[in-house]
Amino acid sequence: MYSEKVMDHFQNPRNMGEIENASGVGTVGNAKCGDIMRMYLDIDENGIIQDVKFKTFGCGAAVATSSMATELVKGKNIQEALQVTNKAVMEALDGLPPVKVHCSLLAEEAIHAALWDYAQKHGIQIEGLKKPKSDIHEGEEDEEEEY
């Protein structure tokens, strides 16, 4: 069902954990849908993401996308981190099953939420960053099935 890369990131997640007094923390998703991601960023005075950690409640794909997202933003500046899209996360994982695409959206959203928190705390505006939705699944509905 999953690619080797997804399985690798699920079994050996990179950057799993917490950062105390993080520059920015973002939590997205909801327990109702079975996925919650929390992203911690440590951003230095030059705006470089020095460290990143995550915690995730969710399926194998949710863990793997969180893990890959942390790898993709680590060492980057804020603008580069904003360019890490769900598509980039998916490609880096050699793809996801269609029902798991929402996990990669969640990973992108988690990065944005953590950056938003960082901007709020520091009273700055990040160009191109919108206030994250509190619930990634807002407005997302199951497709009507025909019987």
Binding site: F10, C33, I36, K55, F57, G58, C59
Partner: protein, 400 residues
């Protein structure tokens, strides 16, 4: 291949080697069509009648009340759709429960789109149907009550005799989906007032793709597959003789070994439940403690998600299943776990383990130790657990 501990017997079972042995001659030796008049075909017919007799005997039914189908889903579809059609003049109302298999629920939804109305009766926190609500749901135009014998996820065994009695007192037909119960629990169709009963071969160490529908004599229910005169003209198509023979053999073996086998399974099940509840904190048992299938254990581990748990168990060679949304392909967790009142996040963290007669205590010891390690690891990764620990200082207790 590494050793596999197979604990997903509610999904399917290993076909018994004895069953395979019984089936084999009907592929290459006695391959005749049972509808023919020459001796080769007669062999097939004899074998089929023998299987029918065995099943009828197990249920306390007549042989001509057993109709072979391609499995549980077909039997459920047939029972509901054909009854709805045949009794439409009397009424268009059906009563079922909220925790039925999708073969029932989706068929009911289909019927609702075609002018029928369906009442889905609630269950209590253990998954037992609320009989008072069932009684209240009955209307003058109610034609059928369909309630499963035992639930496939949480193993709860329903008060089938009482439900049958309620149905018959009101002159309503009673169907039960006994896919999980047949071969696991003693069933007598007369004592339980059952008019129709669905069962499937592969849940009792028989082959896949074969099942039957018991239809009580006198119930007018129409042909499901039109064509030849097979199955008393009610289900056309050349009979799958090897599978029918396999189903008969499986039913015979299951009936013979039932008392001893299920007592052993129930003992191991209770051992597993006891250890998990005691040794894994923030864990609950889903389903009734006593009124449950002898081989079913279903847990919810708070703060973790079921699919992750299943993948990690699989890496250790343990096969289980979960009511998590991720395993169903939708965003909602199991309708059964929601119906017993579990919050979504706890329903997502469920694990179903279903034993077989081959399961040993050593297997279960390994499973418990593995579960402990995996749950601890997944909780260390969980933001929900992090929040909980920060809020409560990590006090250990079981979830209510």
């Amino acid at each position: 291949m590494k050793k596999i501990i197979y604990l997903d017997n509610a999904a399917t079972t290993r076909t018994s080697p004895k069953v395979v042995e019984a089936m084999l001659p009907y592929f290459t030796e006695f391959y005749g069509n049972a509808s023919t008049i020459y001796e080769l075909g007669t062999e097939s017919k004899k074998a089929m009648n023998n299987a029918r007799d065995i099943i009828a005997d197990v249920l306390g039914a007549q042989a001509n009340e057993i109709y072979f189908t391609a499995g549980g889903s077909e039997s459920d579809n047939w029972a509901l759709k054909a009854t709805a059609e045949a009794y439409a003049a009397k009424g268009k109302h059906i009563i079922t429960s909220k925790i039925e298999h999708h073969a029932i629920l989706h068929t009911c939804e289909y019927l609702e789109k075609n002018g029928y109305s369906v009442t889905y009766v609630d269950v209590d926190e253990n998954g037992i149907i609320k009989l008072d609500e069932l009684k209240k749901a009955i209307r003058p135009d109610t034609i059928l009550i369909s309630v499963m014998f035992a639930n496939n996820e949480i193993g709860t065994v329903q008060p089938i005799r009482e439900i049958g009695q309620i149905a018959h007192e009101q002159g309503i037909l009673f169907h039960t989906d006994a896919v999980q119960a047949f071969g696991q629990l003693p069933i007598n169709v007369d004592e339980c007032h059952i008019d129709m009963l669905s069962a499937s071969g592969h849940k009792l160490n028989g082959p896949k793709g074969i099942g039957f529908l018991y239809i009580r004599k006198g119930v007018k229910i129409r042909s499901f597959v039109h064509g030849g005169a097979q199955e008393r003209k009610r289900r056309a198509g050349t009979e799958n003789i090897p599978a029918i023979v396999g189903l008969g053999e499986a039913a015979k073996l299951a009936a013979q070994s039932m008392a001893e086998r299920t007592a052993k399974e129930a003992q191991l099940r209770d051992y597993l439940i006891g250890r998990v509840l005691k040794e894994v904190p923030y864990t609950r048992l889903n389903g009734d403690r006593v009124k449950r299938l002898p081989n079913n254990a279903n847990f919810s581990f708070q703060f973790i998600e079921g699919e992750s748990l299943l993948i990690m168990l699989d890496m250790e060679g343990i096969c289980g299943s979960s009511g998590s949304a991720c395993t169903s392909g939708s965003l909602d967790p199991s309708h059964v776990l929601l119906a017993i009142g579990l919050p979504h996040e706890i329903a997502h963290g469920s694990l179903r383990l279903t034993l077989s007669e081959e399961t040993t205590k050593e297997d279960l010891d390994f499973v418990v130790e593995t579960i402990k390690k995996i749950v601890e690891r997944l909780r260390s990764m969980s933001p929900l657990y992090e929040d909980f620990v920060k809020k409560n200082g990590g006090e250990r207790k079981n979830v209510q």
